[in-house]
Amino acid sequence: MEPKKLSSKKYLYSFIITVIIFATAIFISNYFGQKKLEEIRNIQDKISIDILSSETQFSLLEESSCKDIGTGTLSAELGNLENKLTYTESERGANDPEVRTLKQYYSLLEIKDYLLMNKISEKCKKTPLSIIYFYSDNENCPDCEKEGYVLTSLRETYPDLRVYSFDYNIDVSAVKTLISINKVKNELPAIIIKDVPYYGFKSVEDLEKALPELQTLKNASSTTATSTRK
């Protein structure tokens, strides 16, 4: 029996072509990945400028009346950033160094936004309508995902409500300070409403009860986007 012909060259060609296709795909994927990170950084810069500008505006108007400073002074981009960051985290994984840096920066922006909001509320003698939420990506928080759904739903119903969410274990000293000021125990999910901490899963109804002012917001139209993290 004569040995059969082998198409060795064609094996090599097809292998090389496949490698080229894969390499091109990796390149395209990385290219768009970088573009997305850039976009997130741009949004962060925009928020940081927004906050700085609001703070400056606030300082300038320190002596003036409340009506010059509405909730519109708060950055509208926080919700957009939140969504994109969550999406990026699901694409690149929570352990991606880029994702981690972006999350740290995001946490700082949230705290600054929170402080500014408190100042405005104080000035205008209004109860600040905000929720601080601590979650964990670790497996020791089985209810965090559910709580995330609740808070997302809540902010969709009340666009004026500002929800600040923080990874309890994030390596940002300002977040650690926030935790110690509010004496938040490591029992997650944890929610702080008007300086009172609540632990464990809280439904939409529970949160509405804890923050009755929400009812007045129900039909108020607003351009301010707020955000929730799981």
Binding site: K5, S7, I28, K84, E91
Partner: protein
């Protein structure tokens, strides 16, 4: 960060993309020769070899006459074509129905005790007096030019068997339309295997052999109910060349119901697995050429890859459903439209998505080439849509079942 399921998926995607590229290279290299087949047939052959077609039948009262009529209308010298009907102990009116052909000089008919298709074929082989022999299942019909196309290949003395292109008889309805695409795809791959000397199935309907094949290698075997895979592998093992005549069309009636289709396919896949096991010495051996080094291993890998990719997909779908359930449980049904749906940011640009798109495009182009080869026209019809919608859900079922049967030793039955 790619997790373990992603890595498995990448490996299989790389393997299947590599295979697609390989087949496309073979196609582009031989596309002129593929076109040339028609011209060679027109030139005709110097001397028509004598041919016997065995028609094994078992309870095929409704289709057997039509099968025989299609053989009688073959464009081939009448004195060179013999039809040998073997009734394998039918219990219906098959034997009565074929009596009307009794006086036709081209036709011989025999009745024997039921013993399975391969015994009917061997029974016919014993009565053989012609150079070439083939078989036609009694639920299949031949195109009138089929035999002429096939015999042109036998002008090459080394060609020991020629496989035809199998198409569906008047397909209708989603399930048959899906199979129509699958069969044309089969014509494409088989033709590429032809160029690689790696045809490993000589399909039951109308594969034609030299008489020598059975004289030297023996008759058909039970071969896990897929004697058409076994004989091809046996020939390959002994270095016999098998060709594929892509213009020689044979039509077969496809299952119309999912249950019947699954049964047929479990038998085929199970037959492939078991025969591949029986001929495992062909794998990874240089002397068996492309078949041993690439085609058989690739066919086996594709079984594993279909199963693992399906498992991963089912797992992902379950996870998504569970998340949805958790969400509904936490907040009830909510109908807020996501505000970001139009943003390019949310287009999936992960590597796996891009490679998936490329692999799908490769498959689509092969399907279109197949359609052009088998139907002589390039069109995108409902059949393609049914194929894309249904095949990936149905095929894993029969592949999974046949692997399960092979592992547990459950035998698959004929019908």
């Amino acid at each position: 960060m790619p997790d373990i399921t992603n890595i498995i998926t990448y490996i299989f995607l790389f393997a299947s993309l590599n295979f697609e590229v390989f087949l496309l290279i073979i196609y582009f290299e031989n596309r002129l020769d593929i076109k040339d087949e028609g011209r060679r047939m027109m030139l005709g052959v110097k001397k028509y070899p004598s041919v016997t077609i065995i028609v094994p039948c078992w309870n095929e009262e409704t289709t057997v006459s039509k099968t025989i009529h299609s053989l009688l209308s073959l464009d081939y010298p009448k004195n060179k074509l013999k039809i040998l009907i073997v009734d394998d102990g039918s219990t219906d009116k098959t034997w009565n129905n074929i009596q009307k052909f009794k006086n036709n000089p081209q036709i011989e008919m025999y009745s024997k005790e039921n013993g399975g298709k391969y015994t009917a074929l061997n029974f016919g082989l014993e009565k053989l007096s012609t150079d070439l022999v083939g078989c036609l299942d009694s639920d299949s019909y031949v195109d009138k030019d089929a035999l002429k196309y096939i015999v042109t290949y036998f002008q090459d003395k080394e060609i020991m068997a020629v496989a035809p292109s199998v198409k569906l008889w008047k397909p209708s309805g989603p399930l048959q339309m899906m199979q129509k695409v699958e069969y044309s795809f089969g014509i494409f791959t088989r033709k590429m295997f032809h160029y690689l000397q790696a045809v490993y199935i000589t399909p039951g309907p109308f594969s034609i052999f030299r008489k020598k094949v059975f004289e030297q290698l023996g008759g058909y075997k039970h071969a896990h109910n897929t004697e058409d895979i076994e004989i091809a592998l046996r020939m390959q093992k002994n270095g016999y060349k098998i060709a594929h005549a892509h213009n020689a069309m044979v039509y077969t009636v496809a299952p119309r119901k999912v249950r019947k289709l699954l049964k047929q396919r479990v038998r085929w896949s199970y037959g492939f697995i078991k025969n591949a096991q029986d001929y495992k010495e062909l794998f990874f051996k240089k002397e068996y050429g492309n078949l041993g080094l690439f085609i058989l291993p690739m066919a086996s890998i594709s079984i594993i890859s279909v199963l693992s990719i399906t498992t991963i997909s089912i797992f992902n779908i379950m996870r998504a459903l569970f998340n949805m359930y958790e969400r509904v449980r936490a907040v009830g049904f909510s109908f807020h439209l996501p505000q970001w749906s139009m943003d390019w940011f949310y287009i999936n640009t992960e590597l796996i998505a891009i490679i998936g798109i490329v692999a799908t495009l490769g498959t689509l182009s092969m399907i279109l080439i197949s359609k052009k080869m088998s139907e002589k026209k390039l069109d995108i019809g409902m059949d393609l849509i049914y194929f894309l919608l249904l095949y990936m859900f149905i095929a894993p079922v029969w592949i999974g079942k046949s692997v399960y049967n092979a592992l547990t030793g459950t035998k698959s039955s004929w019908r």
